[in-house]
C-alpha cells in the first residue's frame, strides 16, 4: 500500500477510530494486524517472509540474552545475521551474483548456465532486515534487553508507517514507545497531518514532476542537449530527495498521529559542506546503521587513517550494493568512497599545514562554494545511481558534454531550474535564518491559510502520473 493513495486514507480512517477505543494491549494487537494488512495489500506472500524474520530475531534475542558464554552469544548473533542476510541474499542478490559468476565462467571458457530464480523482490526487505539486525546487535551489545513479548516485538518489526522504506528504527527508540502507546492527542494529530501534507507535496508535486524529466532523459539521452542532460541530473537529485524525504514525512506524520516519534531520516542535504557532512544529513538512519554495525565493527578510525579509508571503501561499497543488485549501484558506492577519501586526504593535507577546517554557523563565500561543489559532485554521482546499465552511463556522459550533437532547451524546463533554486533557498533559510521557528511563531490564522494553500497546491499541482517510490525497490 502506498501512502499517497486514497486506499491509505481509508486505511487510516479505519485504524485511527479503532486505536482510540481500544486498550493498550488491544491497540498493539490491532496495529500489528493493520501492519500486516498494509504490508500484504499487494502480494500476500510477502507477509510470510516478514513473519520468518520476526520469529528468527525474537528467538535469537532471547537466546543471546540467556547465553552464558561469549561464544554462545556470538553463535546466536551469527545465526541471526545468517538468517537475515541469507534471506536478503536469496531474494535480492542470488540472480545477480549467479549471473556474474556465469559471466566470468564463460570468459574462462566454461559452458556455464544459470536459470534465473525470478523472485519478485519483497517490498522493504532491505529495511526490515536491517532493523531486525540492529535489534539483535543491540541485545548482543547489552544496549537493550531482549523483548519477551512477541506482539511487542512483531509490532516493532512491522510497524506500518516505517515498514516499507524506513526510517530504519533502533529498538532503543521505537520499542519503548510501542510498549506504552498513548491515546491520540489533538496536537499530535494536527502535527502528524501537517507532516503528511508536506510529504504529499514533496512526493506528488515535486518528486513525481521531476521524474517526468528524469525518465525521459535517461530513456533517450542521445536526443538531449548538455543543458537538458544537466537539468535531468538536477531533477534526479530533486526526485530522489523529495521522493524519499516525502515518504519519510508521511511515515513520521502517520506515526506521530499515533503518538510515536520516529527518527528523522534527512536534514537539509543541500547544506552539506563536505561528504562526511552529507552522509550525516542523507538517509541518516541507514548511515547510522552502517556506522554502528559495520564501520565501527571493522575498527572505524581506531587503526589509523589508512585503515579508516579502507573501512570507508568497504562500507560504501556495501552501501551501494544495499541499494540494489546492479553494478551501477556498486559504481555509485565506489564513487562516494572516492569522494570521501579525497575529502579525508585534503583535510589531512590542510591540517598538516596548520589549516583547520572547522564547521561554523557563519555564512561565507567558502560555505556557499562548498554547497555548490557538493551539489555538482552529487549530480555526477546521480549518473551512476540512476542509469539502467553501463551503456546508459556512457550515453548520459556523452549528452552531458555535448558529444551527441543534440541542442535546444524547451523554455518550460526553466520551471525545474526554479524548483532547484527554491529548494536551495528554503534549506538555506531553514539552516541559517531559522525559518521553521519563524513559521511556528506565525499567528494561527496565517498558518491555517498556509496549510489550506498547500493542500490546494497538492490537489491542483500533483502530477497525473503515479511514480512508484524509488526506495521501495531497495
Amino acid at each position: 500500500m502506498w501512502f499517497n493513495t486514497y486506499t491509505y486514507a481509508l486505511f487510516l480512517a479505519v485504524v485511527l477510530p479503532l486505536y482510540s477505543i481500544l486498550s493498550l494491549r488491544g491497540r498493539q494487537i490491532m496495529l500489528l494486524i493493520a501492519s500486516y494488512v498494509f504490508y500484504c495489500w499487494e502480494l500476500p506472500y510477502y507477509g510470510g517472509l516478514l513473519a520468518i524474520s520476526t520469529l528468527l530475531d525474537y528467538a535469537m534475542g532471547i537466546l543471546i540474552e540467556r547465553a552464558k558464554t561469549t561464544g554462545m552469544r556470538k553463535l546466536w548473533l551469527g545465526v541471526s545475521l545468517t538468517g537475515n542476510l541469507g534471506m536478503l541474499g536469496l531474494f535480492k542478490y542470488a540472480d545477480f551474483f549467479a549471473w556474474n559468476i556465469v559471466g566470468i565462467g564463460r570468459l574462462l571458457g566454461f559452458n556455464a548456465h544459470w536459470e534465473p530464480l525470478g523472485f519478485i523482490l519483497p517490498a522493504g526487505i532491505s529495511f526490515y532486515t536491517f532493523q531486525t539486525i540492529s535489534y539483535t546487535f543491540q541485545v548482543y551489545r547489552r544496549q537493550y534487553p531482549a523483548e519477551r513479548n512477541i506482539v511487542n516485538f512483531a509490532l516493532y518489526v512491522s510497524f506500518f508507517p516505517q515498514l516499507v522504506a524506513g526510517p530504519i528504527e533502533r529498538a532503543t527508540n521505537l520499542l519503548p514507545q510501542l510498549k506504552s502507546l498513548s491515546a491520540i492527542r489533538l496536537e499530535n494529530f494536527r502535527a502528524g497531518l501537517c507532516r503528511i501534507l508536506i510529504g504529499l507535496f514533496r512526493k506528488m508535486v515535486l518528486a513525481d514532476r521531476a521524474a517526468i524529466v528524469v525518465n525521459g532523459v535517461f530513456a533517450n539521452p542521445d536526443a538531449c542537449s548538455p543543458g537538458v542532460a544537466w537539468l535531468a541530473l538536477a531533477c534526479f537529485y530533486v526526485q530522489l530527495y523529495f521522493d524519499f524525504a516525502g515518504y519519510a514525512d508521511m511515515a513520521i506524520g502517520s506515526a506521530r498521529i499515533l503518538g510515536v516519534n520516529l527518527m528523522e531520516n534527512f536534514r537539509r542535504p543541500l547544506m552539506a559542506v563536505n561528504f562526511t557532512d552529507w552522509w550525516n544529513r542523507w538517509h541518516m538512519t541507514l548511515t547510522g546503521w552502517f556506522r554502528d554495525y559495520l564501520f565501527n565493527s571493522l575498527g572505524g578510525f581506531k587503526h589509523g587513517n589508512g585503515r579508516a579509508m579502507l573501512n570507508a571503501v568497504i562500507v560504501l561499497f556495501l552501501c551501494g550494493l544495499w541499494h540494489g543488485a546492479r553494478w551501477n549501484f556498486v559504481v555509485w558506492g565506489l564513487w562516494s568512497a572516492t569522494m570521501l577519501i579525497a575529502y579525508y586526504g585534503i583535510r589531512a593535507f590542510l591540517r598538516k599545514r596548520g589549516i583547520r577546517t572547522r564547521k561554523s554557523n557563519r555564512v561565507t563565500i567558502g560555505v556557499i562554494g562548498s554547497h555548490a561543489l557538493m551539489f555538482v559532485l552529487n549530480l555526477i554521482g546521480g549518473i551512476f545511481f540512476r542509469s539502467a546499465d553501463l551503456a546508459n552511463i556512457r550515453d548520459m556522459l556523452r549528452a552531458l558534454f555535448g558529444l551527441n550533437g543534440a541542442n535546444g532547451f524547451p523554455p518550460y524546463l526553466w520551471g525545474f531550474v526554479f524548483i532547484v533554486i527554491g529548494w536551495y533557498v528554503i534549506e538555506f533559510a531553514q539552516e541559517y535564518l531559522n525559518l521553521n521557528a519563524r513559521w511556528a511563531r506565525m499567528p494561527g490564522w496565517i498558518r491555517a491559510l498556509g496549510w489550506a494553500a498547500l493542500l490546494a497546491i497538492v490537489a491542483l499541482g500533483a502530477v497525473n502520473l503515479q511514480t512508484p517510490y524509488l526506495y521501495f525497490q531497495f
Binding site: T5, I212, V228, L465
Partner: protein, 353 residues
C-alpha cells in the same frame, strides 16, 4: 488557546470550500450526446456526455460506439459521418420515424475497457439501433493489464457507479477495478478541485502548447480537455526525449477474450437491433500490423457468427492506408462512408415504429 485552534480549523476548511466552489464554477458545462454531434471536450466529461433524456415519440435513437474514425477531431463537427448519417436518416424518415438521432459515443484511442463501460452503461437504455464500429487497435492486448487510470477518457468514473459495477462481468472487474479506483472516483465525483486540475492544465497546455506532456501528464496519461476557447499564445516546445511513432496496438491471440467479452456485453443491451462493423482499415501486406489486423477480423467474424450478431466487414472499403488520413482528416471520406451506410442502415430501422 482552544478557541484559536477552532478558528484556525474553520479558516482552513472555509478556504478549501471556497476554492472548491470557485473550481466548480470555473469549469464549463458538458453537453449530452443529444445536444452535440460529438463530445466537444474529447477526453473529459464522458459521464455527463452519456447522460440521456427520455426519448420523445416519433424519434428513433441510434447509438454509435466507435473510435477516432467516428470522432474525427480534425474535421468540423457537422461534417463527420455520424452527424451526416443523422441528417440523412431524418430527411429520409427512415423506418417511418419523424426524426432519427444518432448519438456519437466515439473518441480517439478508445480501449476495450472504455468500450465495455459504454456498453454496460447502455444497458440502462433501449436504443432502436446500436452500432458498434470497432478496429483491431481498440482491442490491443495491452488492455488486458491496463489499469483504469491509464485510459484516456474519464469514462472509468462510470466503473464504480453501483448499477454499472454490478452489471460488469466478473473477469473485467477482477482485471481492472481496484479499491483505489472506487475511492478515486468517489473523490473526483465529489471534489471539483480535483477535476479542475485536469481542466486547468489543459487550459494552460492549449495556451502554451507543450506544458501538459512536459510538466503534468506524460505519455499514456495524456488526456486533456479539448478547449476551443483557450487562446493560443505559442508553443513552449515538446520534450526532446519524446520518441514519436509506434503505438502499442498489436492484437494478439489473448486479446480475443476482450472481443468476446465486448460482444457479450453488447448483446445484453436491450437494443432493438444490434450491428457490429469492422471499421475501414486496410493495411498493405508487409505492414507490421497486417497479421494482427487479419487475426482480429477473423476473430470478429467468428465471434459475431457464433452469437448470431449482424456483422458488416467494412475494413476494405477504403484503399490501403487511407484510414490514417481518410476518416481522420478528409471530409470526402465521411460523405462517402455515410452514403455507404445509408445504403444499408435504413433497413435496420424498419418495423420499429
Amino acid at each position: 488557546m482552544k478557541t484559536r485552534a477552532w478558528i484556525s480549523l474553520f479558516l482552513f476548511l472555509a478556504a478549501l470550500a471556497g476554492l472548491n466552489v470557485a473550481a466548480r464554477r470555473a469549469m464549463p458545462a458538458v453537453p449530452t450526446a443529444e445536444e452535440a454531434p460529438r463530445n466537444p471536450y474529447r477526453f473529459r466529461g464522458w459521464p455527463e456526455y452519456t447522460a440521456l433524456a427520455p426519448r420523445s415519440n416519433g424519434v428513433a435513437r441510434v447509438v454509435l460506439i466507435s473510435n477516432s474514425q467516428a470522432y474525427a477531431g480534425e474535421i468540423q463537427e457537422r461534417r463527420i459521418y455520424p452527424a451526416k448519417l443523422e441528417r440523412a436518416l431524418t430527411e429520409q424518415h427512415a423506418g417511418g420515424y419523424d426524426r432519427v438521432e444518432v448519438l456519437n459515443w466515439s473518441f480517439d484511442g478508445v480501449t476495450s475497457i472504455e468500450l465495455m463501460l459504454m456498453a454496460t452503461r447502455l444497458r440502462e437504455e433501449s436504443p432502436d439501433l446500436l452500432i458498434a464500429a470497432v478496429g483491431a487497435a481498440d482491442f490491443s492486448s495491452f488492455n488486458l493489464t491496463r489499469p483504469l487510470s491509464q485510459t484516456r477518457t474519464d469514462l472509468p468514473r462510470l466503473a464504480t457507479r453501483w448499477k454499472i459495477w454490478r452489471a460488469l462481468p466478473e473477469a473485467f472487474k477482477k482485471r481492472h477495478v481496484k479499491l483505489e479506483d472506487w475511492l478515486t472516483n468517489a473523490a473526483w465525483d465529489r471534489i471539483a478541485l480535483l477535476r479542475f486540475r485536469d481542466f486547468a492544465w489543459s487550459w494552460l497546455d492549449q495556451t502554451w502548447n507543450g506544458l501538459q506532456v512536459g510538466l503534468y501528464s506524460p505519455s499514456v496519461n495524456y488526456h486533456p480537455w479539448r478547449l476551443r476557447s483557450a487562446k493560443k499564445r505559442g508553443s513552449l516546445g515538446s520534450p526532446p526525449w519524446v520518441k514519436r511513432g509506434k503505438l502499442e496496438v498489436s492484437y494478439t491471440p489473448e486479446a480475443r477474450e476482450l472481443v468476446a467479452e465486448y460482444l457479450d456485453a453488447l448483446q445484453k443491451i436491450p437494443a432493438r437491433r444490434l450491428l457490429v462493423i469492422a471499421t475501414p482499415h486496410q493495411l498493405p501486406e508487409g505492414d507490421p500490423l497486417f497479421e494482427s489486423d487479419k487475426r482480429f477480423l477473423n476473430d470478429l467474424r467468428e465471434l459475431t457468427a457464433e452469437r448470431g450478431i449482424l456483422f458488416w466487414d467494412d475494413s476494405a472499403l477504403f484503399p490501403p492506408n487511407a484510414f490514417l488520413d481518410g476518416l481522420h482528416f478528409k471530409t470526402d471520406y465521411h460523405q462517402y462512408y455515410c452514403d455507404r451506410l445509408m445504403e444499408r442502415v435504413p433497413a435496420l430501422l424498419e418495423g420499429g415504429r
